[in-house]
Amino acid sequence: MSEPVSAATREAYPAGLLQLVEDGVDVVAIDADLSVSTMGYQFGEKHPNRWQTVGVAEQNMVGIAAGFAAAGKTAFIASFASFLPGRCFDQVRTSVAQPRGGLNVKLVASHGGVTVGEDGMSAQAIEDLALMTALIPFDVIVPADYEEAKQAVVAAGKTAKPAYVRTGRPKVPGLYTPEYGFEIGKASMLRAGSDVTLIACGVLVSVALKAAELLANESIGARVLNMATIKPIDREAVIAAARETGAIVTAEEHQTHGGLGTAVARVLVETTPAPIEFVGVDRYGTSGKWDQLLDYFELTPARLAQAAKDAIARKR
């Protein structure tokens, strides 16, 4: 078995696209003048006939992708999560989500969350999951490491429906090897435990694993679920977590409104009410190094561990 690769999740984007072409998918990919950051240019170097850059014009990019998809292509578009969907939400809704039940367009938005770092609040997307989960046909995926991001791009590329994949800027620890079989809508349990469940996505998955270590030092058994797919959420995994551990913490690099926490809470109240604590980012950001910002926003193992204890204390 190979070792998990530690890299930024955005670096997996071109790798996923290349895999799709190899697998015979009729892919096109478009960038909007951020391809050296989304890494889309690497795909363009290999397949110049399948890659376009449209300049700084996200709205146009979405429409072009819709036109490609309507002509039978599997169209990927990439930018920063603050602009895609932030700059072009109406185009995504009208030109992609609504036609024919959803055109075959995949948004791969890099630089999600606050770990963009130094660029500051305007570049730090903490609304994108709320926007994208509000579009009916979209799958919404936040991979936790390089391998999962690659497999998520491939999985999204093999469906005929629209999808949103959020990747990140910083290098994050590897969690999975190529043998991992990512499936849209399936959570991955990274650690067993019976006292509480930490449900996280993206960068926060590694933070949750560290929090589970802290809790273990206090003899608290924390289950860790990587809930990479926010929509459709893995209801069975959430229900099992509530039944078997009785307390839930969600953690995401996003507002606590409209993202992972909201999706998990809905499953709980519909099926298995249990105490839940939400960890997220409920204020606009500032500049700093990405790991400093995780501290600044208290997206830390200590905060998650405290949230776990708070949730446990509320068990009946």
């Binding site: 072009i64 809704r93 009208t94």
Partner: protein, 280 residues
């Protein structure tokens, strides 16, 4: 081969078709008691000339991959659009009676593939030219020589996305695949375009590297000729700017901002139908 490309229809015949289309438009908006008659009536000659004499399509095989695409970017002009599609034979004119009503495929704004010939969803302005670019690039990849004809309104040109796309068409060398048409009726939702937001469509498209063909949008022969000129290869993409009259053909709707999005009364309908028949 039944792939009935374009017909060659005389100007007189086109005028007769245009009359029927105008009749459908006012009846549909009357029956629905809502909809957009003004910007539908202004586009009639453009649409009729295009669909009968220029657009390569096959009503028996509307998904024919090599067909030319007509993309209604000014999506509120559905009374015009659906009437043209029905008269051209994409679906029965009987469907028009259900326009905007529960259960109809003919929504207030177009829903892609809801009925034959509807190539794109619309309603939120400014999105058609971008869609055309993607479609045309796909056609080039797949060695299909279809063209995309995009109909836009002059009010719609307020939307920034139009200009992102206008800049991209020449950049991608899509001049022989994407043809723009502007229905320059001079009125938008809130009033006269010159008072809401002054635009200069011809100068603006020229500034973005397009060849602009100006014509009287209600002179059928002139429209027909403008479309022929637009089809001729050139190193620039072509944009037809058709000078039109909002509400054309119905005296009380003509140049009247009040009929951008309002239905006639029963009495007004009778007057409108009589005027259309008389060819005012």
């Amino acid at each position: 081969m039944s792939t009935a490309l374009t017909a060659t229809v005389s100007v007189d015949e086109l005028k007769d078709i245009a009359k029927r289309v105008r009749g459908h438009i006012v009846r549909m908006v009357y029956a629905a008691q809502s909809g957009h008659p003004g910007g539908s009536l202004s586009a009639v000659e453009l649409g009729v000339s295009l669909f009968w004499n220029h657009l390569r399509c096959d009503t028996a095989n509307p998904a024919w991959p090599a067909r030319d695409r007509f993309l209604l970017s000014k999506g509120h002009a559905t009374p015009f659009y659906y009437s043209v599609l029905a008269e051209r034979g994409f679906f029965s004119t009987e469907l028009l009676a259900g326009f905007r009503q529960l259960g109809t495929p003919l929504q207030g704004h177009p829903s892609m593939n809801a009925a034959p010939g509807i190539e794109m969803s619309g309603g939120s302005l400014g999105q058609g030219l971008s869609f055309a670019i993607g479609h045309a690039l796909a056609g080039r990849m797949d060695s299909l020589d279809f063209r995309c004809f995009v109909l836009m309104g002059d009010g719609e040109l307020n939307e920034g996305q139009c200009w992102e796309a206008a800049m991209a068409v020449p950049h991608f060398g899509l001049g022989d695949r994407v043809i723009a048409m502007v229905d320059r009726n001079g009125i938008q939702n809130d009033g006269f375009a010159d008072s809401i937001m002054k635009t200069h469509p011809a100068d603006m498209f020229r500034g973005f590297g397009w060849k602009v063909i100006e014509c009287d949008g209600h002179d059928m022969a002139a429209v027909d000729q403008a479309l022929s000129e637009a089809e001729r290869p050139d190193d620039r993409p072509r944009c037809i700017v058709a000078q039109t009259v909002k509400g054309k053909g119905v005296s009380f709707m003509e140049n009247n901002p009040g009929f951008h999005g309002k239905a006639p009364t029963a009495e007004q309908l009778q007057q409108a139908l009589a005027e259309i028949e008389a060819g005012l």
